[in-house]
Symmetry: C2
Subunit: 394 residues, 2 copies
């Protein structure tokens, strides 16, 4: 007798990647308080919320102060007004969804971890390498078997299906974190066909879809057949600067059935049991993103970040360094100069250029020689960081 | 090959209790659109947020609209300003906590489900019967062995430890949902001693502590020895009307260790991996609850609900019906008149008095003959509902 802990936690790496980066930066700053450190590591935004979003949240806060307009518990899966807005947003990509297929949450990271509740621990999970560490850690916590799909320069960091691979649950992230690489329609079609053929479920992380331009897919549901094999997780964090405001959503199609069980019904049950909905105020803010004014304002912010990304890719182009991302993604993933290892380059860049990025090795073995920068800094800092990079390593 | 679902979900009851209640009420209203139905079922509040809370959220929303005051990702475990306020709140009960022992979240229901991530599926769980269905359902989803502790009139719905009981994880809820019964210091001391003797972990749900008056404990940490055996989960939902604003917190003491593992470190790791913090705006609202003005305003709301509870208990006293709760709790748990079963009484009360409550059977076998009403309605509706109850069954 006595409580037993989840022994799978022992298999987790000791430090969460970004915590380790922060620890090293703090240590350096303590020793060198004069250094003007520019942070281009974590994927946090810097632009404030759009005026329409702020106005909607102010109004909603005031509603909460009056008995006539007060909102208590909402549906765990979110308000219809926000689902309506999202349904119309998806219609813009030619994707037709029902409101009951959309689940509003406090963010993509929560959904990404919690969605695993509906799956057995006895599933083999296929994850790209390099990859957002949360995919791996959340599965390690449940003790699932994890198989990595290596990627690199040879496939543009876009692993493709392989009949030799076993994967009951398949993580795809496009635009990818950390590589910024984006699957095109033909590539995603191969994945959807593979998953339907094998009964796999694709967990499609679309957190960066707002950076996609041209004919590249925003949603996996743009691919025929995806509704019988894919769950899509998305967020307002990057689209509308909600990193500190917290709102995301997950789409589980009605047609997605495994072992004669509706995954939509399972996720609804999970959320109704372990979640109590997202703040009314926040959902009103998210709704305002889709008003004409809100769309214009958020698009201005995205353009600003796209401009930062161009500053970075222009620099790398001049330096002749291989990279992915930056065109349809806020992430730029490049090969470390002078064949350095990524943590070695992290130290050099921090100590010599006072620029913080994220070492590729933190995202998996295939990231060993690569480095991630983000376009979420200010324009001034991005220009200055790139000036220093070119000066040191150009 | 092919994704396998979590087979434990099959063992869940088909409908979540409150969904079933809602379904039946909707059905009745559809057939009888003229009926003036008063809802005293779900534990949702009706009083608007305190003025200070609204003002804090309006200010925080506006901060999010300016680059200089914009807040992106915060720490997963919450802002220090809110932890400081909570630490001082606990000090008022004579409980000394460190900030790192407090984890802010989007609500007690989320924490109550997610905390199980840090425990092995191989634990026996001890739950009172009747009980908040979420304790049971979340453990069923993980396939844990559940043992019920029967309670009833004989022990005032306050089950006590018994050396014959095996419980690695023990749920206690005080003031209790659904019975409103509150453990006193001596009783909680017995539980703490039992847990420390057996290495059990108590999950103490304090969601209704704000209704406690007199010398009854608000927090399990008022009991010596609790920091080596208890996790406490609490919420702003009832205290400050945050049911739709979403903020809660969980305390995991540094001294709580099982199998040589710090549960505080495990919960921190869980939250850092599967959660991304609570909205900045909401945390600022929660902070304002603890300002002198905020305390006064929220206390006024609590007094209003206490007045409703008194209307209910006065009626039951007059009718000579056995009940628990209502004195230090927003819930009143009473024996169904005429020896009726609780779903039978639910139907009678709905059809004859047009009053909605929650059938005790929905909370467990021991609730079969009992019924729960809440004090969260308006004063007018509470008085009218009690008039009808007394008229029909008095």
């Amino acid at each position: 007798m006595g409580a037993k802990v989840n022994a799978n936690f022992e298999a987790l790496q000791a430090n969460y990647l970004f915590a380790e980066v922060n620890r090293r930066v703090k240590e350096y700053q303590k020793a060198h308080p004069e250094a003007d450190v520019i942070r281009m590591g974590i994927g946090d935004v810097t632009r404030p919320l759009a005026k329409s979003v702020v106005a909607a949240m102010v109004k909603a806060s005031e509603e909460q102060g009056q008995a006539e307009t007060f909102h208590g518990y909402g549906a765990e899966q979110g308000y219809e007004f926000l689902k309506d807005a999202l349904r119309k947003y998806y219609a813009g990509f030619g994707v037709s969804l029902e409101n009951d297929e959309i689940f509003i949450s406090d963010g993509a990271k929560s959904d990404c971890g919690n969605i695993l509740n509906i799956f057995s621990a006895d599933n083999t999970v296929l994850v790209p390498d390099p990859v957002y560490p949360v995919y791996v850690d959340t599965n390690v916590m449940d003790g699932r078997n994890i198989v990595y799909m290596p990627s690199g320069e040879e496939n543009g960091f876009l692993p493709m299906p392989d009949e030799k691979l076993e994967g009951d649950i398949i993580y795809l992230c496009s635009p990818n974190n950390p590589t910024g690489a984006v699957y095109n329609r033909e590539q995603l079609t191969e994945w959807v066909d593979f998953a339907n053929r094998h009964g796999s479920v694709i967990l499609f992380d679309a957190a960066y879809e707002c950076f996609v331009t041209g004919d590249l897919p925003h949603s996996i549901y743009e691919i025929p057949g995806a509704k019988t094999c894919a769950i899509e997780i998305c967020s307002f964090s990057k689209k509308a600067g909600f990193t500190g405001t917290r709102c995301g959503y997950t789409v589980v199609p009605m047609d997605l059935v495994r072992e004669e069980t509706s995954l939509n019904a399972m996720w609804l049950r999970r959320q109704c049991t372990k979640f109590n909905g997202t703040a009314y105020i926040v959902q009103r803010g998210a709704e305002a993103v889709f008003t004409p004014e809100g769309e214009k304002e958020t698009e201005e912010n995205l353009e600003y970040y796209r401009g930062n990304a161009k500053v970075i890719t222009d620099t790398l182009d001049r330096m002749g360094i291989f990279y992915t991302g930056g065109k349809n993604s806020p992430y730029i993933w490049f090969k470390c100069p002078k064949d350095m290892d990524s943590w070695e380059f992290f130290r050099e860049l921090l100590e010599k250029a006072h620029v913080v990025g994220t070492p590729g090795a933190g995202f998996g073995a295939c990231g060993q020689k690569f480095f991630r920068l983000t376009a979420f800094s200010t324009r001034e800092n991005t220009i200055e960081a790139m000036r220093r990079l070119e000066e040191m390593f150009g």
